[in-house]
Symmetry: none
Subunit: 221 residues, 4 copies
DNA sequence: TATGAATGAGTCTTCATTCAT
DNA sequence: AATGAATGAAGACTCATTCAT
């Protein structure tokens, strides 16, 4: 359940989907686009501003991406892939068998892993979140390639723990939902409040309480 | 904790912020705007399409709303007010004192009340959700008038139950967060899956399991 | 076989296809478009230049014509209609019966009538001629609505004269072709040379010789 | 009055105006340009499409032709030269003296010779026809190098026949005009209808009737 | 010689907004 | 109050042309 951890954006910037290497200008275009899209939203972003921030001519953008939407997809598509990376790693089955003795370890790992990911890819994820409702192709792909895979894997993990002990009375999909809700609620609040200087947010404690809450809620503690 | 329950949109349509009554054309403009904004997003919506759907001339919109953004705010601002309506009702203090004997009743009431609200105001809430990140004034107002008030009220409720019994070891803000996470997770999944014909979503059961999960998680059951 | 003779462009400028009246600005747009298209060709004309010459904002063009091509069609389509006007006049059958005793009268009438038309509509016809090869819809319409009708009428006239006397040995379509070739050759040269100050072009004589040539060529004189 | 008959395009492709040989890429550029220009018109053609069809890089075109217009002229200029080739052949004077005993032989030769030429060079002639009206230099050159020469030669031929017999009453320029009109009308219709499978176009007969028509029209038969 | 990334002026088109009626 | 013609700034995108490699 570990990610590659290095900033995969760099990878994204080094190679396009076709495997070719990106020129330096192309990288700057993608970086600027991520910035501007995240800041103003896709529809309200102008290619001219992206070009300006990237320090290239507007035409240069269209040499690399036929349309503005292609540029969006070039950003969002690999993000989806990376989003599920930890769940499709070749070692994943081993995880199922051995790595975690207790469900709270699974929860802790998920939190740590995805928090790191979120921090590194905040802008891209913001774009993803904002644009999915307006682009059916993105929706479909997200449903199929992200939700589908992740939920299936998580349900298998849950099923394994259910086989060993309690929480048998709940469908595994329900367990997954309740677990994810708690984690996402924790991450969301942490994202908003956890970075303020004046914050009274004891991250260590909040995380542990969240995990304990889920464990108790599922009858595991 | 009860809402007015009737479609308050009608109210919105009958009176503008200044207390005046809306003409029929103005109502049609607002209705169309809600539709179009929800469908395409604010930035990608054109006033001309809104006018067309409303069956009015392009200029008419600007007779009632100085700018496109004013039209957005005229939709979104009352939505915020209504969003917190149940928490600011004059009878709210009584709620604190008497209405609910047990925390699971609070949870159940929140779920029922807000689900109904969501169903009636899906489009408006979609707009709210989508646009808040891009409009600082909306953000600020949401923070102050919605989050601030709702959280404060909820924390007072929680504090009351904490005073009476267990879950003392958790800060009330944490309790609120965990409760809301679970509820929103339930509502979100329900919104997506709960309406499919082929769905294997037993709404009654999922809701009760969610409530039981929270109660157990908080050490109340 | 007489045309309405007044400058039908004015009609074109007064009413759009739907029968509505044109505003003054719209008229100026069409006029300028005719000028510019004739001068530079459709593809090399820019809407911004058309707007400038018309003294309107560029956006105004697109209020009246959804696309640049629509503007072209709005010019070209009525031209086709007018091009065949003399052949579809209600009185046309009478023409067949009575008006012309001898084929040379037909030729003379065609020349006079179409020369006048050409002079008044030079630019539009230039556009028609230039653009037809690149727009299949225009081609099709021209084939069907112009060529088809005109040739059929002319063949009927020719057939009538064939029934009365000689030139029986030629198919009527061949007679029509030969007649039109001669007339168009005359008109073409006249158009180029006939207007030069230094020209040694005796119009009256050239026309009569052309008619006589055709008559003799068909064995009628 | 005989042409070289082989596809002179190959010559065009082998040598540029300066007498140098063309590389294979340059040939492919010219070929593609002819195709694209003929298909879409000069103004609507893009150098990038030409490059693509030719299988060369965009920049390569500009290594051989400084501008897009230069490329056009490199195609059109030699076409004009070839167009008049039969009239400037060194043996032309002999033609005047001997080759043709009767004017109908002249007409027949012109038809055969130019039809062949047209078939081989349809695209280039289409370009010529389409672009001449928009390029004054081309116009001027056409007027001077093509029309001027051809008409003068034809008038000399006509004058010779006039000296021998009848048609004395017409100016030789008029005779040329009438002859060419008939021939071009024949070729035009043939070009359009003569290739349809379902056509009722008896080419042999139409050609002979056309010649007979001219001869009779000129009082020669 | 050939390449193809880069350019930036220019294209058609859209859009929020104004204003005379 | 309502209209809708008019605006012009801005948008996405194209294209002939240049130039470092």
């Amino acid at each position: 359940m570990n990610d590659t951890k290095e900033a995969w954006i760099e990878e994204l910037l080094k190679g396009d989907g076709a495997g070719g290497k990106m020129t330096e200008k192309q990288s700057r275009i993608v970086e600027s686009a991520i910035e501007v899209f995240a800041e103003k939203g896709y529809a309200a972003s102008s290619t001219s501003e992206i070009a300006q921030r990237a320090g290239v001519a507007e035409g240069t953008i269209f040499r690399h991406y036929k349309t503005k939407k292609d540029l969006l997809l070039a950003i969002v598509a690999p993000a989806m892939t990376k989003l599920i990376a930890p769940f499709v790693l070749r070692g994943f089955n081993k995880v199922l068998d051995s790595e975690y003795d207790s469900y709270d370890q699974v929860l802790r790992a998920m939190i740590e892993n995805r928090i790191e990911f979120l921090q590194k890819n905040r802008n891209i994820l913001k774009i993803l979140l904002q644009e999915i409702p307006f682009h059916p192709e993105m929706q479909e792909r997200f449903q199929r390639d992200v939700l589908g895979i992740v939920l299936e894997r998580l349900q298998r993990i849950v099923a394994k723990f259910q086989g060993q002990g309690r929480m048998a009375e709940l469908p595994s999909s329900t367990v997954v939902r309740l677990s994810i809700s708690a984690i996402m609620g924790y991450i969301a609040v942490r994202t908003v409040y956890g970075e303020r200087e004046d914050a009274v947010w004891d991250d260590e404690r909040e995380r542990e309480e969240t995990i304990r809450f889920v464990m108790r809620g599922l009858g595991l503690a």
